[in-house]
């Protein structure tokens, strides 16, 4: 089962893993991204490109399914204003074997970071600033090119 959701609301990781439940699932790898509790950071606001976001994530999930034998994938990405400690993103992958689950989960995160049209704005001391893209994220995604 494939689920892709862009939402303002929080999510429950245990519920999402339970929803992935499929015959033959032996391994579930998840990644959760959170707003760091860090110095003067008071909030992150996430903007996205409705329509393209869902398409782009669906494409990335398709690509993961081509590469690995997967039994279920859930991608949830929150938008709007989030405060430190709040969850931003969940990628959960179910597979028969752990290697496929781990690799697909990491692949999905690397591609989400570099392809899915989201933008983060940080608030520090009442000042808002757009987060710059990281070269390390591009490099992480490049690993998967053959």
């Amino acid at each position: 089962m494939i689920a892709i959701r862009i939402q303002r609301e929080d999510f429950d990781i245990a519920d999402e893993i339970a929803a992935l439940d499929a015959e033959n699932t032996g391994a579930v790898a998840t990644f959760t991204g959170l707003v760091r509790k860090e110095g003067d950071l008071t909030a992150l606001t996430l903007e996205h490109y409705p329509g393209m976001t869902e398409r782009e994530i669906a494409r990335i999930v398709d690509e993961a399914q081509n590469r690995w034998s997967l039994l279920g994938v859930t991608v949830i990405h929150r938008v709007g204003r989030l405060t430190p400690g709040e969850k931003i993103v969940l990628v959960a992958v179910a597979a028969s074997h752990r290697s496929a689950a781990f690799q697909a989960c990491e692949f999905l995160m690397d591609y989400l970071k570099t392809k899915a049209p989201f933008w983060k704005q940080e608030e520090r001391n009442g000042k808002a600033q757009w987060v710059e893209a990281k070269l390390s994220d591009d490099k992480a995604a490049e690993r998967w090119r053959d």
């Binding site: 490109y49 990405h77 970071k113 570099t114 899915a116 049209p117 989201f118 983060k120």
Partner: protein, 83 residues
């Protein structure tokens, strides 16, 4: 065509979306970016340095050499920072 702007591009242009008839002489995304830059003001700032900007045509990531048609949806935005 439909033009969309996100993140700081949206803030500089002062709008998230606008409709535009494909201007004379605009054949590619590059041409369109030059046209928008020539409006000056916030547009001039937003399109001053295309190395900091990315583009999607009809919701596909693409390059600035992509040819355009009047029915296209063209989005300009900074490199993505989700996840």
């Amino acid at each position: 065509m439909t033009l969309l702007y996100f993140a700081w591009v949206r803030q500089k242009t002062g709008r998230g979306e606008e409709q535009l008839a494909l201007p004379d002489g605009v054949k590619t995304v590059s041409d369109l970016a030059a046209f928008l830059k020539n409006r000056g003001g916030g547009y001039g700032e937003a399109f001053a340095d295309l190395r900091r900007m990315r583009v999607a045509v009809n919701q596909d990531h693409t390059g600035f050499d992509t040819p355009l048609r009047d029915s296209d949806e063209v989005a300009f935005f900074p490199p993505v920072t989700g996840g």
